[in-house]
């Protein structure tokens, strides 16, 4: 499955990129599994995901939980808790 992953704010800086298109193994089918898979890739994803507290995720531009499923072509985003307003 191919997905586009976007990174914002501190996660973007720690990951050293704002987006990437990734071909995922068959068993990576949820947000939580993608998060674990990215961390397992090592630096810089491991640092990005472990040094920033409470990283949130969105799928198709809606807030998502670890169990949210991923679909072919999905847009997935990871970011710190929001601080607008």
């Amino acid at each position: 499955m191919r997905v586009t992953v976007l990174y914002f704010a501190g996660v973007r800086e720690a990951a050293g990129r704002d987006r990437e298109t990734l071909e995922l193994p068959a068993d990576v089918a949820t947000v939580g599994a993608l998060r674990a898979w990215l961390i397992a890739r090592g630096s810089p994803w491991a640092e990005a995901f472990t040094e920033i507290r409470r990283i949130r995720a969105a799928v198709a531009q809606d807030m998502a939980a670890d169990e949210t499923p991923l679909a072919e072509g999905a847009e997935v985003a990871f970011f710190p808790p929001v601080t607008g307003g």
């Binding site: 914002f8 704010a9 501190g10 969105a58 531009q61 601080t83 607008g84």
Partner: protein
Amino acid sequence: MPVRIQREDFDAGAQIARLRAGDPRIGAVASFVGVARDRNDGAAVSTLTLEHYPGMTEKSIEAIINEAKSRWAVFEILVIHRIGELKPLDQIVLVVATSSHRGDAFAACEFVMDYLKTEAPFWKKESTPAGERWVDARESDEAARSRWERSG
């Protein structure tokens, strides 16, 4: 458009005038303006840089506006949020709600602001004498939002 994300400043008076123009049903207009402070978490702040997630930002605020409209008898809700580099004294965000009576307008305006603070994908980075830092999310903002949650 009820949601506008822009770099430019806004004129709250002109926005309110436009929102209620020609609608004699309106008896109340509540508005909120968020402004950049010169201090945060014990440090002087010289610049605030606002990043957002284009697309999701508009979608999430539209959803918040629709939820507010379903809860209170409001006619229109407008949200303008600035992005990019801001300085202390600059305006950041405007929320306006119109209704027949003040109770609905006040509640809808506060609800939209509380949800925007915790749900809309914006992030602030501030420049301080010690360098740049990302602003931490506040527990008090979560608490402000959670009081609107309905049980069942």
